[in-house]
């Protein structure tokens, strides 16, 4: 396979990967970030993503799967466009993370690891995200929202829904 002609990744990501594998003493060091960046673009680690990443690094697909299953941010099926990750670890729990999580469940009508029927949101309870002093905190994809109360949940979700709406209007 020639990655230039058959890549499932955008040209920008493909050239980023070309640079990435050359950064380290061994190509394989690029594996973990590559999987994450690929997931950011494609949405999840599909068969095709795993095959191309294996090809680019020069290891087997089994090697890729073996590593990918270790890391909790990597997933093998699609999430929502906006993946809401609520930290419920101790510092957040003490400041009401479970009430926050419950409110997200109620607003989105989905449970832990669920995806809304329109595919816009998914919800996940996650371990410590390193925002303990600004608890309770969540991440929506990579964006942090901190010092939250359940009452702020509808506005947060509305903000992201608006982004989707605007994108559709522009398309």
């Amino acid at each position: 396979m020639s990655p230039e002609t058959m890549s499932i990744f955008s040209p920008a990501l493909a050239s980023r990967f070309d640079a990435l594998v050359a950064k380290y003493p061994v190509r394989r060091s690029a594996l973990v970030p590559m999987l994450l960046y690929a997931q950011d673009e494609i949405g999840y680690l599909s068969e095709a993503v795993i095959a191309e990443v294996a090809e680019r690094i020069g290891i087997t697909e089994l090697d890729v799967r073996n590593v990918a299953t270790y890391y909790s941010m990597l997933r093998f099926k699609p999430a929502g466009k906006f993946n809401v990750q609520v930290c419920t670890n101790i510092s957040c729990m003490l400041r009401g993370a479970y009430d926050l999580f419950d409110r997200f469940q109620d607003e989105l009508h989905i449970g832990n690891k669920g995806v809304t029927s329109d595919g816009v949101f998914s919800l996940e309870e996650v371990e410590c995200i390193g925002a303990c002093c600004w608890a309770p905190a969540i991440q929506v994809n990579y964006a942090f929202h901190d010092d939250l109360t359940p009452d702020q949940v509808p506005a947060i979700l509305a903000g992201y829904r608006k982004q989707v709406q605007e994108k559709e209007n522009n398309a």
């Binding site: 970030p33 670890n89 101790i90 390193g130 303990c132 002093c133």
Partner: protein, 436 residues
């Protein structure tokens, strides 16, 4: 955006540039940045290591190993390339100090990495950030690119004959990768499973070469040690515990935040004066002094306790990563223990049996216990399990799960007993807590 806090008792060394726009390289230079690196280039490795030894700086990741001594263990001659590896996998629950360092002072991390490289004779440094810190990785990447553009990194740093390259790396969600050997595995593109020691990383580390691995806060402290001089830095703290550290006050506290205080600062004062006391005027029930893996302390144990590695160690806990989690009297300790253990059970890599099985059984026992189906024997069983995990795992994750559990059971045995006989928990709202 994380809120910055301030208190008159703070001694701002590492956090001196927070909130001053120092992520911009020109601003950083204006604030005295990169002078330490130039000084180190002029004075050479032996001088750097002596300054570091004199500073009594100890590793901020949790173990508290003296940094200067760690650097001195790297052999001077090596057939394989040597490496510096900065551990920014910050994942210990209760800890968010590196978050602020990457956000506000990325060049201090770069400077510290270069200086570590000069000290051990390495030409390459890796800065590894946890995957969740994407926006911070982007800040770090920009800072590294700016440093290359100025000639502070590259083949001839600061116009000298010395080469130093920095590569940034993203993780993808794994607490255990914060353990140094697992971190190297992850950077080599593998599952983050710990390696057997010895050999220690200083001898056989990343890609088989001698490697120094330091926590991001330790590394960000290095340029300040050089600027102030090792002895002056040491004088700020207590004997054998040099300088200040970033304490992360979280939980049921009036003014949570990251505060930079001298080593040895009294914990009670930290909670009641710096942090403004317990939220809502409630009473203190317990405090986790150094991240979720450190055994809990009772109010009577913190009266005269100075927060340095030796004093907290003597009190039966650990200073750990500096994550001070405050727990008020309306909290169920069994639930708190369960949430703590659920985390370790989730993060255990499964490589060694005492940790894989131990964390899972602790979680199962505590879940059942918290749901009101525990028996008196379960309390002893939890203790027995935790006792048998201690020191019997490849990496400290097993200990990190066992230590706090033992603390909860020993110090709050009565509260565990109060859950017996199907009695409802007087506090908890989330019996089904263990979803993760």
């Amino acid at each position: 955006m994380p809120r910055l806090v301030s208190h008159p008792d703070e001694v701002k060394i590492v956090s001196a540039r927070f909130g001053k726009g120092a992520a911009d390289i020109d601003k950083y230079l204006e604030l005295g940045g990169y002078e330490a690196t130039k000084k180190c280039l002029a004075n050479g490795p032996d001088w750097i290591i002596n300054e570091m030894k004199a500073s009594n700086l100890r590793g901020r990741g949790g173990a508290g190993f003296p940094t200067g001594m760690k650097w001195s263990f790297v052999p001077k001659q090596s057939t394989k390339p040597k490496y510096v590896l900065v551990n920014g996998d910050e994942s210990e629950p209760g800890t968010c100090k590196d978050h602020l360092i990457f956000l506000h002072d990325p060049h201090a991390v770069i400077e510290g990495t270069i200086i570590a490289g000069l000290a051990i004779g390495s030409k390459v440094g890796f800065i590894y950030l946890r995957g969740e810190y994407r926006y911070l990785l982007e800040i770090m990447e920009k800072a590294v690119a700016d440093a290359y553009a100025k000639g502070f990194l590259g083949k001839n740093i600061f116009g000298s004959d010395t080469e130093f390259q920095i590569v940034t790396q993203s993780g993808a969600g794994a607490y255990e990768v914060g353990e140094e050997s697992a971190l190297m595995e992850s950077l080599e593109g593998k599952r983050g499973i710990p390696r057997i020691k010895p050999p220690f990383p200083a001898v056989v580390g990343l890609y088989g070469g001698p490697t120094v691995i330091n926590n991001a806060e330790t590394i960000a402290t290095v340029p300040h040690v050089i600027d102030m001089g090792g002895e002056a830095f040491a004088a700020v703290g207590t004997p054998r515990n040099g300088g200040t550290r970033l304490f992360c006050l979280s939980g049921h506290i009036e003014r949570p935040g990251v505060y930079e205080l001298p080593m040895g600062y009294n914990l009670k004062k930290m909670i009641y004066e710096v942090g403004g006391g317990i939220r809502g005027g409630r009473k203190l029930k317990a405090v986790v002094p150094g991240g979720s893996s450190t055994p809990v302390l009772l109010p009577e144990e913190i009266e005269t306790l100075g927060m340095d590695f030796d004093q907290v160690g003597k009190a039966g806990s650990m200073l750990g990563s500096g994550g001070v989690v405050v727990i008020d009297d309306q909290t169920c300790i069994v639930e708190f223990a369960l949430r703590t253990i659920s985390f370790y059970a989730h993060e255990s890599c499964g490589w060694c049996i005492p940790c894989r099985e131990g964390t899972d059984w602790l979680k199962k026992s505590l879940t059942r216990f918290h749901a009101g189906f525990g028996t008196a024997k379960d309390i002893d069983n939890i203790q027995y399990l935790a006792d048998n995990m201690m020191g019997r795992t490849f990496c400290p994750l097993g200990d990190a799960a066992a230590m706090p559990t033992l603390g909860f059971v020993k110090k709050f045995r009565k509260e565990f007993e109060d859950h017996l006989g199907g009695k409802p928990c007087p506090f908890a709202k989330h019996v089904e807590v263990a979803v993760v």
